[in-house]
Subunit: 724 residues, 2 copies
């Protein structure tokens, strides 16, 4: 422990600059006026209202849609969307076959008619948000028991959402600071999304898992979609008759890019941070949560890798899942390494001790907050008693294709008969379309032997859970086989996968109209098992609601105490709502004696081309480079086309594909990753070490211009090609 | 091939600065007047004569003795010598026992009387050199056949050396540019050398094999010897009555060190470079020579590692050998990687084609040099036909302790009866002392099971040599066992190691007085085998002499042609003679997007302390750091004590321990390594990528002052300690 603190001391000694204000902060748009003076000084040339004006519901932010897990930008008046290659990867994969391997070769639509449907993809256009804290919190009776609090809160939220969605928009209540504030976010949901252009994987994913989270980076992580709506201009399901969506705003490109030290900003939808997580939970994550999940993900990936070896068709089916697992695993490994090295739990413990002392030092403060930290600690200790089970159960609805489908169908059958406002979140009438879509598109990647292999792994893990954390449903089902151990798992899978009819798309969709009794009456063994499993899961969710009910009272008080103690305004943790982060183009020193420069270059891409995956540069890229024509994309200070660059923006997963913009709000690149040293930034942002990795717009344009001849798209974005 | 050239093109594009003159060049001291203007402009404040004045045989260079494989500096009027820890490692190891583990703990003599004899160590003080080209080359008759040329040349050299050594100095004729010039070097050989101070291995070798050849580097690679002479001031064998040697000159320390961009110079004894090696030989090295030796070294090291596991005593005995093997292996691996990546053979081929075209374009040039390159190529092709055997035979005199001793004794017995001038180099009367010392000190590391394991490996390799390259002696000895395959090797080793008396030190030394017949009459099976093996080796050496006889005529002509073609003066390849290299303190970009800064720091050392070897910082270093006292050793621009720094000096193995000096000739650090990217610099120096890694004198002083309390030594060097 002392050694670890010493490392930190050393790290602090090494810090060269002491920034005026850290670039930390994923700010809500209504907080921008508070930051205005600072932002102007840094180089922002837009007013807060130009970014977003709540009075008129207009501004730059409307050009930046959420993709559900990723961020994107409109870049033409005809609904052209730019995002990361890894965000479009699912759509590329869905459209690939062994004969048309768009994953490897890339895809460029010859014209609008040739754009390929990205059926699982949605585009959510930002339409503004309102503070609904008073309306939400007033639903909670002062003396309500914990579980009741959450039920009341959810009911009120659903009520408000239903009211909001009468506008035809998609609405969501998002909780900030653990329930201190609530906001209603409005989005236009576009359902006809098409793949327009993706470069070859060896550009879009150049460096693959080797370079993932790493600097120096040379990945052309960009792709294009187009949003379509019905001829009436309203969102519609895919139809050849649909027309391109006309966004209120789209981003202009800045082909001149940025240079070292320039101001940058990112607007996007960061998924989740834990910046206010208490020490006890950080310690649990570090010591158990991540290590346990790393083992699980690594085993799962090994199962899929084995399956991929059986042929190209299976390889394509599991490609997207493998990519996701590998990415999560690397992140968790980095987290454990970083959290351990920095001893973040220990540091938080020190800060909490100071906070408690400060609270206790004043009778008024003690009365107000004296019980908060001890109560939060007690809550954390309670949660740890079922930690293996809780993690495993979270993964079951993602384990393969068929069990997740059965769980969805069963839950829908339980919920669909109730009044809409009483139904579980995600299982209301408004969710039916998404669920149908999921039950349809899953057919594409369905592979029964893969499902069996994955469930074999998960059932064996679940069957080995310690006493007090057992899943009664699984125990019963295994016992019913008359076998024991691995033989019981095999027999159960023979039964539930061998005899299910859910492999048929029509059957799955047909089940959606039925209530639970009718579903049970089908006597499909997989559905029967899912009904029992849902019972276990429901009990766990009820326990969780009780915990949340306690936290919804404690956490806001903790945040209040922390804000008062620190004496600074706080920004809320990321939760997939729209956020703003300002920054500077800037390198960093990952360790003593080494400086990671802020830019990489196209010659650096070429120098990495070994011909061996993931460094197997496409021949047409190498040929284009060898011609020596680089157009206007050369950055003078580098003497070369920049490939990627670093900025101090504060982002996390969900920000992938986010536009990184100059002070005028022009697109200079796309955020696509963080550096290895920023893996722990979900817990704590480091101005010295946390960096966003962006693909430079000049590299995107050079590839479009000289490698892929995507000239029509360039012109659509207002950039005249040079390679004529 | 194209891909490789492309990488080079990319590398060239990345080069940021175009230096006026490259820092390439290991210059002979008499070449300094030619460089004077340039050196003054760069920052040198000394005249060539202050560095070395051949008229008076005085100058800075006399403060810089050769250690036989390493370089060192006198740093006090009492013969105190500073060099690298890895150069003193053998002496530390020789004095270590499981009870007194100076390797791990370090050693600091409490006073002069406690200094430990470094019995295998010699100190060679530079005393000047003369051009003897005319005298040497006149020995070769114009029409002499190749083998005869070399014999005549060697006879003349020995004659000249004998004449020179009448002065009491040690003399050596060194050949430059493959025999174009010859110089007689004079050195005072000091035989009583003592270990004064070595830091703990975890300082002196911090980072070990992991960091070897790497940047960032944090190794405190320094140690101290003291030279002693007889009370009469003349070199003498070890005796308690001896007194410290008083050098003509010693280096002053510059505790203020250097900063980024400063001028630096290094004087030292670089071992071997191949800057003028022809393409065909570079290709042979890349494709066969290094890969074959890497396999051999790695197997050998595995054998020693296995032995080291059997106990601390054996571990200590093999430690120095393992270190040497590991270092060589890493270097060869880096060579293969670098030579392949840069396609140096291909590049040389291109240059040679141009050279040939230039020669052929002019009748006079063609008459003079037209045949040189084809003849060199033919020679290279001939050499390749016995490549496996030639490499293996080079390693046998180093395989363990006993076979090398037997080979030495036998060769001595064959040579000692001849007139001195006819004896082989290294086996003349002047060499007897060194040979006796070797046969004595080997006892320290002798371990019969280790010898057996090493010879088992080498004999098996030799027994598997292809037809046409067989060793008749080994074949006969194996056949004589009546066994075949591995059983024959085992039986042979039973015989020659099991029944030899060479394990006894007195016996070995006693044999030195006998002629070959008397040695044979001992009927010691190991000596008998060595006599037969020497016959094979002698035949191989005779073949080699014929080759050399051809080259001694061709190479000077090749160098002349090359110099005329390039139009620039050339410096000779390194050959363990004294050289000068000037440079700048400077970082470099190892790859696109990364910059290796010129300095590392003490906080960086601490940040690397994982507690696990080779990053197991000594407790007293960590404790000293934690106290936060750094005296005057902090470098203002870094805000910390510098640990190591980079310079563009052109060095190679043999330069280890060399003083790196500022423009006034003051010591600012010790060279101890090159960066990974400079591994191929023995073939070609790259101003962009080749760097010398130096330990900063400020880190040395901080360790002496605050960690090891080596205050008396500091005062002896004229530096007042701060930690009082």
């Amino acid at each position: 422990m002392r050694a670890l603190l010493r490392i930190l001391a050393a790290a602090l000694t090494l810090a060269v600059t002491a920034p005026g204000r850290a670039d930390e902060g994923m700010w809500m748009l209504h907080q921008l006026p508070e930051l205005d003076a600072h932002l102007r000084a840094m180089g922002l040339q837009l007013s807060p209202k130009q970014i977003w004006d709540p009075a008129t519901n207009t501004g730059l932010a409307s050009a930046i849609p959420w993709l559900g897990g990723c961020t994107s930008s409109f870049v033409s008046p005809d609904g052209l969307i730019i995002t990361n290659h890894h965000c479009a990867f699912g759509a590329v994969q869905m459209n690939s076959t062994p004969a048309h391997d768009y994953i490897t070769d890339g895809f460029l639509a010859a014209g609008r008619a040739e754009e390929l449907p990205a059926r699982a993809q949605r585009v959510y256009v930002f339409k503004g948000y309102d503070d609904v804290t008073a309306k939400v919190r007033s639903a909670i009776a002062a003396d309500a028991p914990p579980a009741q609090r959450i039920k009341a809160l959810e009911a009120r939220e659903k009520e408000l959402v239903a009211g909001c969605e009468k506008s035809g928009l998609r609405c969501r209540v998002a909780e900030m600071y653990g329930g201190k504030s609530f906001y209603m976010f409005r989005q236009l949901e576009i359902r006809d999304v098409r793949l327009v252009y993706a470069p070859a994987r060896a550009i879009g994913e150049f460096g693959g898992e080797v370079d993932n989270w790493m600097w120096p980076r040379h990945t052309g992580d960009y792709s294009f979609f187009r949003a379509y709506v019905g001829p009436d201009g309203k969102p519609a399901d895919y139809s050849p008759a649909n027309v391109p969506y006309k966004p209120d705003r789209f981003l202009k490109l800045a082909p001149a890019g940025v240079k070292d030290g320039d101001f940058t900003m990112i607007i996007g939808y960061p998924g989740r941070t834990m910046r206010y997580r208490i020490a006890a939970l950080v310690a649990q994550d570090t010591e158990f949560g991540y290590p346990y999940q790393i083992k699980l993900l690594s085993d799962w990936m090994a199962v899929l890798d084995e399956r991929a070896k059986t042929g190209k068709a299976v390889e394509i089916k599991v490609a997207s899942a493998v990519k996701g697992l590998a990415n999560a695993m690397k992140k968790y490994e980095g987290m454990v390494e970083g959290l351990t090295k920095e001893d973040l739990a220990g540091q938080r413990r020190v800060e909490e001790a100071k906070l408690q002392a400060w609270i206790d030092a004043d009778p008024a403060r003690k009365a107000k907050w004296g019980d908060v930290l001890p109560a939060l600690d007690a809550q954390a200790a309670r949660g740890a008693t079922t930690r293996e089970r809780d993690i495993l159960v979270r993964y079951l609805p993602r384990a393969g294709s068929l069990l997740p489908a059965a769980l969805t169908i069963v839950r829908w059958s339980q919920q669909s008969g109730k009044p809409d406002v009483d139904r579980d979140l995600g299982y209301q009438a408004r969710d039916e379309r998404t669920i149908r879509m999921r039950l349809t598109t899953m057919q594409r990647n369905l592979d029964l032997p893969t499902d069996r292999a994955v469930l074999t792994y998960f059932f064996r893990r679940a069957a080995a859970l310690p006493a007090g954390q057992r899943l009664a449903s699984l125990d019963a089902a295994l016992a019913a086989t008359g076998e024991t151990g691995d033989a019981a798992v095999a027999a159960l899978l023979d039964e539930i996968l061998g005899k299910t009819s859910l492999t048929d798309e029509k059957t799955r969709l047909g089940l959606l109209g039925l209530d639970e009794a009718a579903v049970a009456a089908k006597h499909d063994p997989l559905l029967g098992f899912a009904i029992a499993l849902r019972r276990d899961m429901q009990a766990i969710e009820d326990e969780r609601k009780t915990e949340e009910g306690v936290l919804i009272e404690l956490t806001p008080r903790y945040v209040d105490a922390l804000a008062a103690f620190r004496g600074t305004p706080l920004y809320p943790d990321a939760n997939s709502t729209i956020r703003f982060t300002d920054a500077t183009v800037k390198g960093y020193s990952p360790r003593d004696g080494v400086y990671n420069e802020p830019f990489t270059t196209l010659p650096g891409v070429i120098a990495k081309c070994t011909g061996v995956e993931p460094f197997n540069c496409p021949k047409r890229l190498v040929a284009a480079y060898d011609k020596g024509a680089f157009g206007p994309y050369v950055a003078a200070p580098l003497g070369a086309v920049p490939a990627c660059f670093l900025s101090t923006n504060d982002i996390t997963g969900g920000n992938s594909g986010s536009p990184i913009m100059n002070g005028k709000g022009e697109l200079v690149g796309l955020a696509f990753d963080g550096d290895y040293e920023s893996m722990t930034s979900d817990y704590r942002f480091s101005n010295r070490l946390s960096r966003t990795i962006n693909v430079d717009i000049r590299y995107v344009l050079w590839c479009m211009d000289y490698v892929d001849n995507a000239h029509a798209l360039m012109r659509e974005m207002g950039v005249e090609p040079s390679n004529k």
